[in-house]
Amino acid sequence: MTSAVTEAETEDRAARPAKAPAGVTAGQPGGAGRRPDRLSRQNLAGWLYSTPFLAFFLTFMAFPIVATLLMSFTDFGLRHVTHPLDAEWVGLDNYAALLQDDKFLTALFNTGYFVVLGVPLTIGCGLVAAVLLNSGIDRLRTFFRVGFYVPVVTAIVAVAVIWRFVLDPSEGLIAGLGAQLGFSTPDFLASETLAMPSLIVMAVWRNMGTAMVLFLAGLQAIPAEVREAARIDGAGPLQEFRRITVPLLRPTMLYVSVMTTIGFLNVFEEPFVMTDGGPDDSTLTVSLHMYEEGFRFFHMGSASAMAYVLFTVVLAVTLLQLRLLKDKTR
């Protein structure tokens, strides 16, 4: 998620110097109706500054995105790895095959399950933690802030080790607690019904830190006068939260929910390190399935088609969110 933020910023910065001189040229006499020369001396600096980014973006983002799209219409497989141009054009066959593929549909369903439960929980926990840190807890604030954020920056392998220990059915933390209190605990990761919820809990724990930090920033941007006014009007803490905090947090909420949803739709690491998609495909997600198809079996054509289906879903969900969570206070 962080990489997306910096990318947007870089793009922003890259765009600005290119625009400013353009305005100057347009204002020059005799320039009426003439479009400013994009490669004029003034623009050159701007282009130069943005070249590193553009070169990087074109080679590692734009080109692969186009290449993947093209590949999704071919039967690119293992044998084409050494002779890529022998791949045959198959039109929409890959996409049609996906709709028939039970495994892909299971993966799609699992991903939906993960998002529908995981995103609201992450946002909810992040918001609650942020509100508490912002107003309730004075002492140890930094301690808690760090505590909630550490999982975000911890390597997934370390996280997996810890969570395997927590969920271990024989000597795990939960099993141990259960034994002390006298009830038996299930084998979470090995159960078809409990594996996915376990991964969701882990993902929420891992990602709520990001939401919390963003909400904290949002909370601090809410003017104290507004809160004060509400309190003078007789609002209790709950009312203040509902009528002041939540509406004024809307822009932050939009950003957090869009970024979290995109991240959750692309869920890969959790099932990859914890369950390998099992038991019986109950934690197989679209990204994991795509990875297996693409890099274990080298069905690049089919994997590319999956990538584009997922991309379309992400795009649709994001547009929907942008519409639903539009800032209505303006």
């Binding site: 990489s3 590949m71 890969f268 038991p279």
Partner: protein, 416 residues
Amino acid sequence: MSRNALSRTTITATALVLSLGLAACGGGDGDQVGADAKQTLTIWGMGEEAKRLEEVAKDFTEKHPNITVKVTPVGWDVVGQKMTSAAAAGTLPDMAQMGSTMMGEFIALDALEPVDEKVFDKADFFPATWDNNVVDGVSYGVPWYADVRALYYRTDIAEKAGKGKEPATWDEHHALAEAYKKNGATWGTELQPGSTGAWQTWLPFLYSEGGELIGEDGKPALDSPEAVRAFERFGSYFEDGLAKKNFVVGRDVAKDFGAGKVPMFMSGPWMVQNLDEQQPQIKGKWKVAPLPAGSKGSVSWVGGSSLVTFKDSAHKAAAEKFTQFLTTPKMQAHWYEISKSLPANKAAWNEPEMQNSETLPVFEKSLDTAKDVPPLEKWTEFAVQIEGAMEKVARGADPAATAKKLQKATEGLVDQ
């Protein structure tokens, strides 16, 4: 989760497509460097073996001062992808250690140089290790070391349960598992019910019934009566509650074995050392036995690694010399000493290093009767299908119906 999956796919896609251009720039096959010229031979080794290979390579350079060997270590978990990308980019080394199940893929990619059978004699090696590298009568790799599965079981718990005898058949194996369970073990035996690598567990059931993965007609033979029998037998352990139905990634069998929770499992020769080092408290309380016999005897399967030379290499003469060096009986026995990998060369088993061991004869016997895993281009997919079927049978699906479905799913994966 922070990195998006789309870009992951696209990056590799770029790598593949970019490599197109690079591959075109690669040198031709024409200029071979003679064995006596000064040269550097590059070889990829896997995991721990790469480190030990480096030591051995020094001995080689002492004998052949004109040839420097450069060993590049590659992890077992990423080697498939790395080698495939290198094949695409034309950046393969001169030689590599190649895992037995990867052979089919690289033979299909036409990346390997055929073995000169005048230099390497098929009869020197265990049949299964050699057959693993042969497609259409041409051999593409020289067997380096062999992995063969055997049965590990706790003798102390078995005696307590009144079962002093080594389980020789699957029925006895099943009975021992029952006895273990009755005497306090959590599970009678370890059997991987599914997930990556589970095919290794099922293959002995199939082979010991006389079944084959690929039939004589070149099609999968996974719905044969033997295969159905293998699934039935495999499933019975789960049905009777003797093996755990649910597989958890990264579980440590040795730990449960040491604690007596799972007093029986099938594994390769490396486990001997692992158990000695990690579970010293059970020293002398466990034994290695050949895999239980089915109606066609005890038939294990052979894994391990071969040495391959790539087609694009310009140092084929030197590569042949190095391969010869590594597969002599003396070197193979020395290799066993430092890595505990079983020699693929039969004569090596007579060397002094290979004597005075209780477990080695078991593995040698198993190697003699073991069968190979046929080199298939789409082995990974083939294996995943088998693993899916195993998981279903372990969860109570009908073996015959599952085998039928499996046959259908795998038919498209094998070229006729």
